[in-house]
Symmetry: C2
DNA sequence: GCTCTATTAAACATGGTGTTGATTATTATG
DNA sequence: CATAATAATCAACACCATGTTTAATAGAGC
């Protein structure tokens, strides 16, 4: 009676799914599972691009992925949980960048800027975003999932600004500082979004330089091109 | 046979719905329609806040609005069309601000800044946003409609930046200028979003001043509080 | 090769959707 | 106030997606 129970067991909060792409080896997923999830991921991207995140059903998803609908339900409870699990992977990966961020100081930024060098951290970040480009393009586009952009802003941009902000103001609860942080966090999210929307034409180095240049510019000033 | 056809006729693209709130008088809507739509709007806001934009059905909507489900379908084809019609109202209203924007120059901004006066245009904008606060809070929040923020950014913020940008760069297709505009457009959208999320505590004048101050600040500089 | 398990296929109850026709209630208008 | 117009209600409908369950098949791992 309880024999086949494990088949119905759905991984709590996508723990297993995080092993999928960057699989270190330990606790490797069954090839069939990996294949199915990969096909579903690709189908999801295509369908979001074509019809927007709410413009298709689980049926459509499985048709695109050339899988039985039951297979989908073996792994995910519903469409949203599946989407969230993929988003979680990205956010989890970005945690790694967050720890780099906390080590970053305003002084570092200035030093690299004076040497006309892009911050390696930023280059790595744009490299990673490019790696996930197809998914990000779908999910951050017009038909994508608005929640993800908010998470990305909090996961990366807000922390980025906080870390390079002068220590005095970093945890200052003044309303202006609050808006100051929101201002720049959203600003950098906007740059990233724009880059992804436009097909990521610029190289990661170029983008890192642009990001740094934007940090040191004053809006009212004339731009030296 | 074609007698009752008019009851099923749904207004093409929410033309009639735009008369609802700010009704100038001409072609006034039937009171019953206005009442129904108002109830639906309020129900929508409550349900988005409670369950997110995809967390409820047309059934729920009508239960909250205390209306028959048929009434909803008399006016709208589906949930999304209804939501879009409400968003369109806001965007249409903001068109008025857009024309003010095109008249705005960088010089104006500096002049007001030197006199420590907030731009009347900005005060009006924040006043209007507050007026629509409950809807905006729902639709721009975590459970809201991500598409709307994108529209708001394009309708207001991008134009705002373009108009105060130096003429030389305004229509400059350089990649950097492109990102420059995205940067500041998203930045100001972020400030607006933050203000709305936080319950719009600051007055419109205060927000206008903060917005102007953020325009003249250089990120790397220390902030004078 | 043998065991375990993922995929498939079919069936099912459930619930939301969008539409329709007839009835009732409310509104605008003369 | 009386009347015509029309909006809201109610019940019923076919349709489709959902999420679950079963048994059979196929494939992975060892």
């Amino acid at each position: 009676m309880a024999v086949l129970v494990s088949q119905r067991e759905i991984p709590r909060n996508g723990v297993t799914t995080s092993l999928k792409v960057h699989n270190g080896g330990a606790l490797a997923e069954d090839r069939r599972i990996a294949r199915s999830k990969k096909a579903l991921r690709q189908a999801l991207i295509e369908l979001i691009e074509e019809r927007g995140v709410d413009g298709f059903t689980v049926n459509d998803l499985c048709t695109y992925a050339d899988l039985n609908r039951g297979t989908f339900y073996n792994h995910f409870h519903d469409k949203d949980e599946f989407l969230l699990s993929l988003e979680d992977e990205i956010i989890d990966d970005l945690e790694g960048f967050r720890v780099q961020l906390t080590r970053l100081s305003f002084a570092d930024l200035v030093r690299y800027r004076l040497n006309s060098q892009p911050l390696p951290f930023l280059v790595d970040l744009f490299d990673y975003l490019r790696e996930q480009g197809d998914f990000l393009h779908a999910v951050m586009g017009a038909g994508g999932d608005g929640r993800f952009s908010l998470r990305l802003r909090d996961a990366v941009c807000t922390n980025l600004i906080r870390s390079v902000l002068h220590e005095r103001y970093r945890n200052n609860p003044t309303p202006f500082v609050d808006y100051y942080i929101s201002f720049y966090a959203s600003a950098y999210l906007g740059v990233i979004t724009r880059w992804i929307e436009n097909g990521m034409n610029e190289s990661s180095e170029t983008m890192a330089r642009i990001a740094m240049r934007l940090f040191f510019i004053k809006p009212g000033e004339s731009i030296e091109l």
